[in-house]
Every structure is written in structure tokens, then in C-alpha cells.
Symmetry: C2
Subunit: 338 residues, 2 copies
Amino acid sequence: MLDLPSAHMPTVAVIGSGSWATAIVKILSERPIKINWWMRSEESVKHIKAFAHNPKYLSDVQIDLNKVAPTTNLNKTIEESKYIILALPAAFIHQALKDVKESQWKGKKFFSAIKGMIPDKHKIISDYLKDEHDISKKNLGVIGGPCHSEEVALERQSYLTISAIDPKHAEILAHLLNCRYIHTHVIDDVAGIEYAAVMKNIISLAVGITRGMNYGDNFQAVLVANAMQEIKRFLDIVAPFNKRDLNESAYLGDLLVTAYSQFSRNRIFGQMIGKGYTAKSAQLEMNMIAEGYYAVKSLMEINKKHKVDLPICEFVYNILYGNQSPTREIRVLEARLK
Amino acid sequence: MLDLPSAHMPTVAVIGSGSWATAIVKILSERPIKINWWMRSEESVKHIKAFAHNPKYLSDVQIDLNKVAPTTNLNKTIEESKYIILALPAAFIHQALKDVKESQWKGKKFFSAIKGMIPDKHKIISDYLKDEHDISKKNLGVIGGPCHSEEVALERQSYLTISAIDPKHAEILAHLLNCRYIHTHVIDDVAGIEYAAVMKNIISLAVGITRGMNYGDNFQAVLVANAMQEIKRFLDIVAPFNKRDLNESAYLGDLLVTAYSQFSRNRIFGQMIGKGYTAKSAQLEMNMIAEGYYAVKSLMEINKKHKVDLPICEFVYNILYGNQSPTREIRVLEARLK
């Protein structure tokens, strides 16, 4: 692990106001650095400045206002920060970034902490930043799990995997995120970590659907084992890399923490589908976004070209977008697993 | 899948009276075959013959006495059966088999459904049968999970993986165990499946210990991901096989169903250790055997020769046999995971 003198600690921006953004702000606050925290809501900024707590997410976490500057000014946030951590739902990122002046991007290091794809564009975040905002590849990276933000709030031991095209930047961010309750390490596989994180949300939807249909632990274990093989087949085509070990924490660990959590939004959404809710009514009922819902559409779109065998993603897609009943699709899936 | 005419269905013996033995008897009873069910207890045999239920384990399961013959006569059981399924704790097997006449073994096909090693001898079951009872390798096989017997009792969809040195016998047993709630498939890796099943119990102990110490979901996800890498390192040395995919159900699935189950004996035992019980008092309190407790001793014994890097097994061993406190050992483990 890099040993960085305090004087050289860069200013970091966190973009987003949700629970994962709040957890990252908390972790970074363990270091003697300045953190510019951007969010859309004026009200939230005011509340945080007045009470040192995010009013909506992880409200128990105390925000250190000596280090953290909440703001709604995105251009200024990016201008004044060297490392930019994106931590908002993938569906909102295009809207959030569209007014940033091109000149602001230059030289900034962007790390995605987002586990989703840009809807309609069907792109992982690093590809989106490269293609749509002309950000140089060498300035791109990703923060991988497995990490429930709720457990970060409780300071329970957790691990993060950092990756960047330029490993020097990954080392620096890993250093900044390392603290008494967070272990970090660096691996080389930006696109692989991103695609795996997208797929784990789809797998969690599948777990939820089968749970909703009263399938048990035995079935879930087989589903998750088969999911790992499915992720491997897909990654080997869309992001080939012969040094990847899918059993590392950023892949298998990240899948497990989501698939086995009762609190996973994707799993809860899936459970409602399995119990017979329509996608629309499940979304209304939950009043939040399950990333996997959009992700499976993008993934299947990408796979039209590659034609990788993806029985679990197909299962989810056919139910959510193909108007097929879970009872019919589960028969097909059961026979394809082993 | 093999299509076997009813007339050629072989007689099968199930050795053991626990919940997994009872579940296997239930599954086999879906076929038109005779099942000789051996157990030590005269009382249990009488109870089953009178009431068609195992008095002690999975008592809700109805035993079909038209097909199933409970008995305490082991020599006769083996003599009258072609396929012998061993489903009793590894610690009891040597005692149970020691009086069987050598002549009875000949030509019989032995499948282990045991997830443990023979204590003191430090051997997986297939090696034990080969070395101690001179059973030909070509007559040996294994039944792999992931499968909680409780869910088999409820007829929830489950999957079994069958392996044998002679694949023909694996195909036949897979056919016999395949039914409306059990999917079976055959792979080629007897020793690998056995060692992985032994290790998953040790991993579950580690999960339990850390849970008992109040570590959360994030940590468990990292622990299990690292465990898969640890299993791979060990299997590559003790049972090398270049076609093995550890993400198949018999390995990863089997680990998940145990590590994430609140009902796993190994996990519960570990949890008590993590909360400060001694191994002896935890055993007294639970009144049952956690296979992992013996397995970790055998595994570390075997590894004296190989010196594979096994941080999680060492963690468990040092606590259970090295008189080290969990609080000390967890610091070492934390730093070795990533």
C-alpha cells in the first residue's frame, strides 16, 4: 500500500447524495483531505450544513464539516477536485453531467462507484465517460465492492477493490479509502469489475423472483453457482482478460453480498415480481429504482451481437420485458441449470 | 440422462439413519426399486417398520415400506444391494464397517454422501475405502450437493452432482436420484468433490466464528470469495485436475448452501466459539457433531506436507486446536484476506 504524505493528499469530489455516496464521504473523512460533496437538492445541502447529517440516507452518519463541503454547484465541484467519484444511479448520470463545461474534465481522474449501465446507451460508466465526454482512458477507474453502505455506517470491517487504467491513480485512491474499518486493494480490470457489478444486480433480481416463488436455499446456491459461470462466459467475450480470477472479492464477493442480502433493492424488487406483481406496480410500491431492471435490458441488447449463453439474464428479461409468466420461465431455467 | 428400464433398476443400500440418509431414502423411493436401509438402532428400525417415519430425523417424511426395508444387519444389507450409499458421520464409518465380511465388498458400487474425513486416518472416504477395505477404485463414487435435507423433505427444487471413477455407475445413480424435485448431473472428479465438501465445513466454521464476533455481510462475502481461492489452491495440489470448474454447483453451490445457512451445524458451532465458548462446551451445548471440527485437524495434518497457503483453515485450526483467542486470530486473518 502506497504511503502518501498528508501534504500531497488530493481533493476528492463525491457526486451523488444516496447511501453509497454518504458512506464514501464517511470513509474519505478518515483522511486529512478536503471532500467536495455534490448533490442536486438545495434542501439536503442546507440540512447537512446545519446538522451534519444527510437527511435522507444513512442519517446516523455524522458528517465532518471541517473536511466535507456539500454543494449543488457541479462545475465548481469538478474544478476544485482532482479525483471525482461518481456515486449516483446510472439512470441519472447523463442528466447530472450534461451541463458540465468540457474544459472542466481535463486532467481529472474519474472513478465510478455506480453499479449499472447508462440506459438507452447500453454502456458501462467508463465507456460512457470515454465515448460521450471524451475523457481519456488513462483517467478512468472503478471502485468495486463487496460493500453494503449500511455496514460502513456501522464501521464493520469491509473490503473495497480499486481499479484504474493507470494503476498509479488506483493506488492513490486505494490509499485514501483505506482506514481502520476498510481494507482496500488494487487490481487491473476496470471493465470486468463494471460488467460483473451490472450482472450481479440482474442475478439478484433472479434470486428475488425465485424466492418470491418459494424456491429455497438449495436452489439459490445452484442459481448463484451457475450465475458465476454465466458472468464468466459474458466477461470473456465483452471484456476479455486472461488474468481475471472471478473468485476475487470484487466479482464473487460483490455478487454474494447482494444476492444473499434481504436488503438488496434488486432482490426485493424480484421477490415482488415472483409473487405476481407487475414490474410497474412493484416499482410504485418500492418507490425506488432497482438498477437490475434497466441493466438487464442493456445487457440483452449488447448480447444480441455476441449471443453468449445467458440463461439467468434471459429468465429475468423474458419476465420483465417479454411479458412471460414467472411460472413458465422458471421451468425453462430449472432445466438449464445444473 | 440415462434411460433405464424399470426391470434393470438395481437394489440400493443406504447406510446411516440421519437426516441426509433419510432424505436420500425419500428421493430413491420415487423410483420403482428396493432400498435396504441400514441403521445401528433396533428401536429406530422398529419405529420405522411400525409407523413409516424415522423417529429422530426428518420425522415428517413418510417412508414407503413397499420399497424400503429398514434393518440393523449390515452384512445382509450389503450382500443384497448393488449400490451402497454411505450417509453417516465420517467419525462413525470405521466403527460401522469394521465387521463387514471382506467377501461382501466384491463388485459392489460405493457412493459416499459423507462430507468429512476419517479422523486419525486423515483420509477422504474414497481413499479410506480403497486403502482400508481394498475396494477397487472403479467401484467408488460420491454424491455432491448443494442440498439441505430439510428442503428435500419439503420437495423444494434441488440439484445433486454425482461422480464416480467409472462414469457408467455415476450415470446409473444419477438416474436413480433424479425425480420431480431433484435434478442430477454427472461430472468427473471424485476426490475434488470430496475435498471441497470437507473444506466447506471448515469455511462454515470460520463464517460462524466471525459472525459470533459480530462481523457482518460485507466481511462474510470477502471471506467466502477468499475461501474459494483457498479451496482452489489446496485442490490443485491434493487432487489436481485441469478440467475442474470450481464455480460448478458441487463446489461453489455446496459451499454457499452451508456458509449462508442459519441451520448449518458447523456455522452454529463456530458462532458459539466466536462468542467465547470453548470447543468442548460448544459441543456439549449443541449435543451434535460439527464435521468441520475434525476436518480442520485432518486437513492441517495433510497440509504439513504440502504447505499450501490456507489462511482461513489456519484461522479455524489455531482457535480450535492452538488455544489462540478469536480476537487475536481475526486480526491476522483480516490482513490476509483481500
